[in-house]
């Protein structure tokens, strides 16, 4: 008798729970297509953190990781669209054409493509983050904290996203310290901890005492920690990997956007748009500032962060010259989004050539 009561109590609880979950779930299914493994602790990892936020908001999600940017992507997208997903997020630049192609075949499915610019069909939106705003902050810190006036920068591939970051970083660093030199080393990989560490080590041996990175692993900040120089975290807060070296990190925060868009699909308010959010909208997040930074620098950075968020300060404010001394942005003007999106020239003060 006793057992019977416990059993019926438990089963009614289970039933109740199931019904509640069913009531919350809005029957909208979201899918995510990833370029890398979710275990990269970088780009894909942060998108997956965003996906989990969607899940936490009560929606069903699925993801496919390690999808090559080829005909395979089309196959995966078709499969996802066919299996009842209402909105599909494609989270790498190379999915641009496959996304648009498959979107045409499935007009009732919404497609969201990250970092692209093609929206050929009404059911395709694009979104990206203004990471260069974060790099303006890093440049300001690097220019102030360096003693050797040599700043190292480990870059991945010569694409506008990376060039824009280098430029934004250098402009900000020069503003606080006109004597700095930015040394750039191309690793030609997004993540290979060994190679990234070697690149960072080379820069440190060459006298760099602050290291910035546009590759994904935590190997660089760990190398900086070992060598006793400063570094910045990439994509996620990397402070715990190198507590002494990491001054702050620029975090990719996709969650709020993903939740927003999936909710819009659920409410029927989804519309096509091009989103390019920065610090102001919370897509780019600056981690806690390390206490090794002097108090006045910290307050300066906080103010800069607020000004970037409000739009009072723009990362690319003229006059900006390229390496040959040609004017890129006139005094008092700011670079428009078209220029930023296609930026493939270094600004004055960056050393070396862009690999072709």
């Amino acid at each position: 008798m006793h057992k019977f009561f416990i059993r019926s109590f438990v089963s009614s609880l289970v039933l109740l729970f199931t019904f509640t979950v069913a009531a919350i779930a809005k029957d909208v299914k979201a899918a995510f297509v990833y370029i890398g493994p979710t275990g990269d602790h970088g780009w894909t990892y942060q998108h997956d953190v965003g996906r989990k936020a969607v899940e936490a908001a009560g929606f069903k999600t699925t993801y496919v990781e390690g999808v090559p940017e080829s005909a395979d992507a089309e196959r995966v997208l078709r499969q996802l669209a066919n299996s009842g997903h209402d909105v599909i997020f494609t989270t790498s630049f190379g999915y641009m054409n496959p996304t648009n192609k498959v979107a045409k075949e499935f007009p009732n499915v919404k497609f969201e493509h990250a970092t692209g610019y093609k929206r050929e069909h009404p059911n395709v939106s694009t979104y990206a983050a203004r990471f260069y705003e974060g790099r303006t902050i890093l440049g300001t810190i690097a220019g102030t904290m360096t003693k050797s006036n040599v700043i190292g920068y480990v870059a991945s591939f010569p694409i506008p996203e990376v060039i824009r970051g280098i430029n934004s970083f250098t402009l900000a660093a020069q503003k606080v310290n006109p004597n700095i030199k930015t040394k750039i080393v191309w690793a030609f990989t997004w993540y290979d901890p060994g190679k990234e560490a070697e690149a960072a080590k080379a820069l440190i041996d060459q006298g760099a005492d602050v290291i910035a990175q546009h590759t994904d692993s935590t190997a660089i900040v760990q190398m900086a920690e070992k060598a006793g120089v400063y570094a910045f975290g990439q994509a996620s807060d990397m402070d715990k990997f190198a507590p002494k070296a990491v001054l702050t990190s620029v975090e990719n925060n996709w969650g709020p956007y993903y939740v927003d868009r999936v909710k819009a699909v659920a409410n029927g308010t989804w519309n096509q748009k091009d989103t390019w959010h920065g610090i102001g909208d919370g897509m780019v997040v600056i981690s806690d500032l390390d206490s090794q930074m002097p108090a006045d620098l910290r307050s300066k950075v906080k103010k800069l962060q607020a000004d970037l968020a409000s739009g009072k300060v723009h990362s690319f404010t003229g006059p900006i010259y390229d390496q040959k001394g040609n004017l890129m942005v006139a005094e008092g003007k700011t670079a428009d989004d078209g220029m930023l999106a296609g930026m493939m020239t270094y600004v004055k003060g960056v050393e070396g050539d862009i690999p072709k």
């Binding site: 493994p37 990269d40 191309w186 030609f188 060994g194 692993s217 715990k240």
Partner: protein, 310 residues
């Protein structure tokens, strides 16, 4: 740029540190291949070693357990290979490739819970002596125990193959398993042992990456080093000392090209990135021209299955 002598010492030290995983994995694979078995699963065994070492270090907190655990993990996964190729007589190439794919997959699965955890500091030896001798100080001192082991290994391996009875047996099995078998040598047993040994060295190489070189776990963190180790074995014509040279050239050029970029040498970066691969192959081919010696050191039954009739 002022080139001072300690700066050169620092560069050489980082070159040596970067070639450790290649030396370990290559010397292990060399023994396997010398017994006539071609195991293309080095990359897979390395990545299994990397995750096992990192996971054990995180869970148990003991570096010793982690290092030996990683070697044991390499042994376990290579046992699968040994069982398939020696007992079930499957094709070496196909089985080795499958082992790599399996290793990458299963390491990612185990690794899910270990992403984003910082590693522990691995103790280094003779740290205090680093500044006592110019140039040689940073080269000789202040490294982990695995580092010293890796640089002793090619010499030990060479001695083992040339001067010991067991080394001779391994070579006999690799050159002519039929004759060795007729002499009463248990070919399968020898090959099993050589495969497991190769696995343990690959496991150690992986653990070096995830615990010492870049203490963290991320998927695919071996980044193709297993394949380079395999290539080194072939291009060194199965000579452990040449493996050491090849690994140093490869690691060296990877690091020197970064230095050239940082100094601002105007050579296309893509060319610099390809340089380690090209030069390593050229140098090894040039130093191993003697065809008579190549014939002597090439295990003639490499990759061929041996099946005793009775």
């Amino acid at each position: 740029m002022i080139i001072d002598i300690n700066f050169i010492g620092l560069i050489i030290a980082s070159i040596m540190a970067s070639s450790v995983p290649l030396i370990l994995a290559s010397c292990g694979e060399l023994i396997t291949e010398r017994s006539g078995v071609l195991n293309l699963g080095v990359e897979g065994m390395m990545i299994i070693g990397a995750i096992s070492g990192f996971a054990l270090m995180t869970v148990t907190g003991s570096l010793i357990i982690a290092v030996f655990g990683a070697m044991l993990a390499g042994v376990l996964i290579s046992t699968i290979f040994a069982f398939l190729t020696q007992t079930l007589i499957t094709n070496h190439v196909a089985t080795g490739l499958a082992l790599t794919i399996f290793g990458i997959g299963i390491s990612a699965m185990i690794g899910k819970n270990f992403v984003g955890i910082p590693g522990k500091e691995f103790p280094v030896l003779f740290e205090g002596l680093k500044d006592t001798i110019p140039l040689l100080g940073p080269i000789l001192f202040g490294h982990s125990i695995v580092f010293y082991f890796a640089f002793a290994l090619p010499f030990i391996t060479s001695y083992f193959l040339k001067k010991t009875k067991i080394g001779l047996i391994v070579r006999a099995v690799g050159d002519s398993p039929e004759s060795a078998s007729n002499q009463g040598i248990n070919v399968r047993l020898v090959r099993y042992a050589c495969i497991l040994y190769g696995g343990s060295m690959s496991g150690l190489a992986g653990a070096y990456l995830s615990m010492i070189y870049t203490p963290q776990w991320i998927e695919n963190m071996t980044g193709g080093r297993g394949w380079i180790a395999l290539a080194l074995v072939v291009f060194s014509t199965w000579n452990p000392i040449k493996i050491l040279i090849g690994a140093m050239i490869f690691g060296g050029l990877t690091i020197i090209q970064f230095h050239m970029q940082a100094v601002g040498v105007r050579i296309p970066v893509q060319f610099l990135t390809a340089l380690p691969y090209i030069v390593t192959i050229i140098v090894l081919v040039v130093i191993s021209r003697d065809s008579r010696k190549i014939r002597l050191s090439t295990p003639s039954s490499l990759g061929k299955s041996f099946h005793k009739d009775n």
